[in-house]
Structures are given as structure tokens and as C-alpha cells.
Amino acid sequence: MDPKHPRDLVEDSLEMQIDAWRAHLRRSRAITAPDVEELEDHLRERIASLEDQGLSEDEAFLVAVKRIGAIDALTREFAREHSERLWKQLVLSGDAGYDGAEPVATYGSRTMWVALGLAVAAALAIKVPALFGIPFDPDQTLFYPINISFFTLPFIAAYFAWERPVPASSRAWVAAAFVLAAIVVNVFWAGTPADETADTLTLSILHLPLTLWLAVGVAYVGGHWRGSGRRMDFIRFTGELFIYFVLIALGGGVLIALTFALFQAIGLDLELFAQNWIVPCGVAGATVVAAWLVEAKQSVIENMAPVLARIFIPLFAVVLLAFVVTMAVTGRGIDVEREILILIDLLLVVVFGLLLYSISARDPLAPAGLFDWLQLTLVGTALLVDVLALWAIGSRISEFGFTPNRLAALGMNVVLLVNLAGSGFLLLRFLRGGRPFTRLWEWQMSYVYVLAAWAAVVAFLFPPLFGFE
């Protein structure tokens, strides 16, 4: 396989021919930049010697290329020898410089040290309240659950604020958002009697991170919040961060279990140490490290969230379809329990996530395909299940009464219902009416505000509205 058609070669200079040949070689991941350099040296030597034998420049080039071997055969041979190069590596080794692949997360790079420094700072920060006598025990105080966002998210935001040019005004907004939120929820916390289980406080704990995550987003996009492209990047970042955090947490779990067992073997019980130090510091630190890793790997490794979404969309579609059909055939209605609303909310969250990450990876210009229909099926059946559940609950809701929990669950349900209904409508218009797919994209991006706003309402307005009960 010659790099170019021989006729074109005559018109090019030797250097251009060599360039083209080199570019061809570089296309394979099995052949690295230094390898190409070595082969090029060989090629030039061969050309020089052939020219000495009386060949013209072009002839010499052709013969030399032929003698060095067909590029695909060469690639195959290199791939066999260096099979590890076919796996994309997130380079964390010291000797990354020569690869030509421009590793982003080079070990010992400045970004790494800043990220690690912030991770350590987060881990230390979560221990500061202990100095003031607040024990790390969720049974005794809700101080840590309610403040967990403030021990992790500002450090992630700080990393982005350092790493990219964020305008001063955006920095100020983000900082102000964190400070204000911290003051408000801690006033709630202080205002709630310690021995009472206040539902509104628990709701605050659950919804606060969702709102504050928007502040991290402002830092992430470097203040360029307008323009749905950057916002979509932030969504992608969120999904990957979640996956990385789960992976790190799994590893951390193994580490803690083994540490425990080892020290138990010599008769020492680490339970208190693990509870007071390893878990809180580990969680705080891991969040920042995960955020840095996701940023570092974004151009190196395939995004995982869309892959998972692709795997599970058909499966969830089948399960929901089977559920609806079973309901219709057997005539069984949904058994209205107190938890049914939460269950349905979780279902909608999963469907929403699957749809979001699936469209985040879809080429908006690609024509409609089978998978889009699958998505529509998933959204449609999820909506149907939700409506059936709401129908069943609706008759009994007055009987149960409007507690803050139920209202929050109902509100989330409505927010997600509207989102999925809109998505389903736009998907259908794309599939049947040939409207651009980007509409759906924009719809999801604008919905970020709605979600954050609802979360803010629950986190900040519910406690005073319901008298901190």
C-alpha cells in the first residue's frame, strides 16, 4: 500500500512524499512518534543509498517505501509487539513526554499537584468542625450530611477556577452562592432541635447538592454558561464524575475492609478511626480526585456514561413494556403504598439519566435510527407508568395528607414528568416530522435550570414553609 498514487508522487517533492508516508504511519496507535522517527531515519538512509546507485529521487523513494514494507503489515507487526498501545492509557506515568500523544494527566504535572492539594484540603476541611466538638456521627447530628456539599463542591469549583480562565464576576457569583447557601442551611440546622428528626432538614440535605452543583457548573464552563455546548460538556462531566467516584469508592471500600481485617489480626479495632477519619476524609478527597481524573481523561478514554446508557436503554424499555403489558393483561392495579411515589421518582430519574446521556453522545446530524425509536419507547412507557401511578395515588393523596416529604416527591415527579413528556414529544417530532435533533438537546439543556430551581425551592424554602418540622 503506497501512501499515494504514484502519479501524484512525481509532482511532489521528496520531503512532501516523506511527510505523507509519515502521516500514514502515525495513523496507527501501535506506532509511536519515536518509532516513526526511527523508521524515517531508515527510509532516508535507504533513499540516499539508492540514489547513490543511480536511481532518481522518486524511484528511490518508491523502492525504499516498498522495502520497508507495506504499512498495514508493518502496523500489524508493531501491534503484535506492542499490544499495550492498542489500549488507550490514561497516562499517569513519569515518562510520558516522548509519546507525542500529549498526555493530559502526566504524573507530576502541575494540574495533578493542584488537584491533589485541593483533595487534601477538602479532606482536612471536613475534620475542622471536629475541633469544635462536632462528632462525625450521623446519628448524633445532621451537621455533616447537611454540609457535605460545602466540604467537597467548593474544592472542585476552586480547581476549575484555577485551571481555566474564569471571569472575576463569575468567581464572585460562585463564591457568593456557596457562602449564602452555607449560612442559610446552617441556620436551619441550628434552628432545628437536635433530638428531633426534621423531615424538611432531610429534604434540604437531599436537594442542596443538586442546586449547588449548578454553581460548580458555572466554574466548569468558565463563566460561559450561555451556549448549550458548554453546558452539555458539564452534563457529560457530571456523568463521568459519578462513575469515577463510584469506582474509587469501591476501591476505597476494599482498602478499608482489608485495613480493618489486618489490624484486627493483631488485636486492634479500627472502627472508630475508620468512622472518624478514613471515611469522611476519603469521601471528600475522592470527590476532588475524581473530578480531576475525569478532566484529565476526557480526551483519552471513551466516555462511559453514554455506553452504559446505550446498554440499559433497551433493557429498561423491555422491562417497562413488560410491566405495562402485565398490568393490562392481569388487570392488577398499582398498590398504593407510602413509598410508591419515591419508587416512581427513582424510575423517572433513571429514565431521565439514560435519555440524557444517550443523547449527549449522539451525533445530532445522524439520521433517525432504530435506537431513537427505542428511546421513544422507553420514554413513552415510563410516562405511562408514571401517569398510572399518579392516577392511583391521586385518589388517596388527601387521605395521606400533604407532608413535606410527599410534596417534595410529588414536585420532583411533576418536574421529571414534564421533562420526559417534552423529550418524548421532541423525539417524536424528530422521528416523524424531520425536525432537527438539536431541539431535544436544547430542551434538556434548558431543563437544567428547572431541576436546579426546584431543588433550591425544596432545599431553601421548604424548611421555613413547613416550620422546620
Partner: protein, 125 residues
């Protein structure tokens, strides 16, 4: 005459080690030396030498360094390591055994072809 592919592959390790044993060298020069030694009979596709070199380097038998060649370009030179020298001695023993064995059978075969008398009769047990 073109040498069987398996033979070329099998002989590549001792050949490269031996040539580097004569002194540090680089890819193109190693190929030239192979050609010279074999009288042009042993032909490698030029590019295939490099994966072999990389394999030997990875197993610690040779080591490489970048230097400026007289042409002004960067060139990767290879030299044999102590482990490589040991490996070379080992290869030499093995190849000598193969060679001696084959030599004996060649002459025996030639004898049989000439005289019709088997030199060796298998014993029945």
C-alpha cells in the same frame, strides 16, 4: 533461493545480538550487515527489523539511545547488554547443536544415496 519465513524469524535474535556484539549499531546498518554476511541470501523486509529490536530491548537483551547521526538527524542506536551476551552464548550453543545434528544426517544421507548401503539400521526391540 529465498529462506523460509520461520527460519528467518528464528535466526533473527541470534543474528541481531551477534551483529550488535560487534559494536553498537542502528537499524539500517544492521540490515546492511545481515545482507553482507549472507551474501544477499537472507532478506528481511526492512521494517520488520524494528519490532524485533523493540522486543529484544524490552526483554533487556539490548538497550537503545538516541544520538545525533553524521547526517544531523536523530538516530536510535542499539547496543547489547550483559544479559544479551549471555543469551547470545546460549543461542550459539543451541544453533551449534542443531547445525551439528543436521551436518551428520546430511552426510549420512549423501552416503546412502551414493552406496545404497544404510549407515544406520534401527534396532528392533
Amino acid at each position: 533461493m529465498s529462506i523460509n519465513k520461520d527460519l528467518v524469524a528464528a535466526s533473527s535474535t541470534p543474528l541481531v545480538l551477534a551483529i550488535l556484539g560487534e559494536g553498537d549499531s542502528y537499524g539500517y546498518a544492521i540490515l546492511q550487515r545481515v545482507r553482507e554476511l549472507s551474501g544477499g541470501e537472507l532478506e528481511w523486509t526492512d521494517g520488520m527489523l524494528y519490532p524485533v529490536l523493540h522486543r529484544l530491548e524490552r526483554s533487556g537483551l539490548i538497550e537503545s539511545r538516541w544520538e545525533k547521526a553524521e547526517t544531523g538527524r536523530k538516530r536510535k542506536y542499539y547496543g547489547v547488554t550483559d544479559a544479551g551476551r549471555e543469551q547470545l552464548a546460549e543461542e550459539r550453543r543451541q544453533w551449534r547443536t542443531v547445525d551439528e545434528t543436521l551436518r551428520k544426517i546430511w552426510s549420512s544421507v549423501a552416503e546412502f544415496a551414493r552406496s545404497g548401503m544404510p549407515v544406520y539400521l534401527p534396532q528392533r526391540s
